[in-house]
Subunit: 158 residues, 2 copies
């Protein structure tokens, strides 16, 4: 075998390693989904502590939150302010959890659909809101971060 | 060069073709984004025609719409019913367009953030609602289909 042939064999083996077992189309989507579900649990815990900075840290630097009856807020500072506003509600309580999580084949993008339960003391008495949400995640330097977070109420018929 | 070496060279070239120019990490994201933006324009046109079946056909078979003040609706039949309800509003008019579209590296998942303008004649006078949305797309048998569609109002301060 020539030196060139030898080099091609080595290059070919390297290609197989790069794209064979751990390539973009072979990501372990179940493990990635578990990572996202674990982050959701940490996020709910940060919300329970009313920690706006920690809640905003789950988003990408250019992430966005799209709350009902308010403008889109982009970037962690603006997102932290939205969370701080929620945490200021009297007797605020919020939990949420995904009902489904889907990860792209290269595990660089994912989305979840979920439900939330929000309660607080409003100006006209207690509010108990049930709703639903979509959160989009992207892999950012090896870590999943939220790029879009939008939710709305199920309404009076909830 | 041995026959084995020759086979490896051929196999190596095939691998380069498979993963080099058109592989999952090399998808033409600009072209994919344009496909999605073109679908959005067709979708807006279907809504302008008040064509519920055509509007629902933009969603995947297991797609979901998550309207404010109503339950999540999954599957094209349920989604068409939601659109039919909107189309039944007096003087209904709705337009929407993405402000950003992002495609996964393998072009199998994408999401867009956008804005909408909705107007209709309500029980208490004309309603002019401005809001925002997130739509998640997946590549389904080579065609982009909506898997999640959620929106909410900017509120009174819009």
């Amino acid at each position: 075998m020539t030196a060139v042939g030898q080099l091609l064999r080595i290059g070919c083996a390297a290609l197989l390693l790069a794209f064979g077992s751990s390539g973009p189309s072979m990501a372990d989507s179940a493990a990635e989904e578990q990572q996202i579900r674990a982050l959701d649990e940490e996020w709910v815990a940060a919300v329970a502590r009313k920690d706006a900075a920690a809640s905003a840290a789950f988003y990408a630097e250019d992430g966005a939150i799209l709350p009902p009856n308010g403008p889109l807020a982009k970037g962690r500072e603006a997102i932290a302010a939205v969370w701080q506003g929620l945490f200021g509600l009297a007797n605020f309580d919020l939990t949420f959890a995904p009902t489904e999580v889907h990860v792209s084949s290269a595990a660089d993008l994912a989305y979840e659909i979920g439900t939330y339960a929000l309660s607080f003391s409003g100006d006209h008495g207690p509010v108990n809101d049930r709703g639903k949400y979509v959160v989009v995640w992207k892999k950012d330097d090896g870590a999943w971060k939220v790029v879009a977070d939008i939710f709305n109420s199920n309404g009076a018929s909830q």
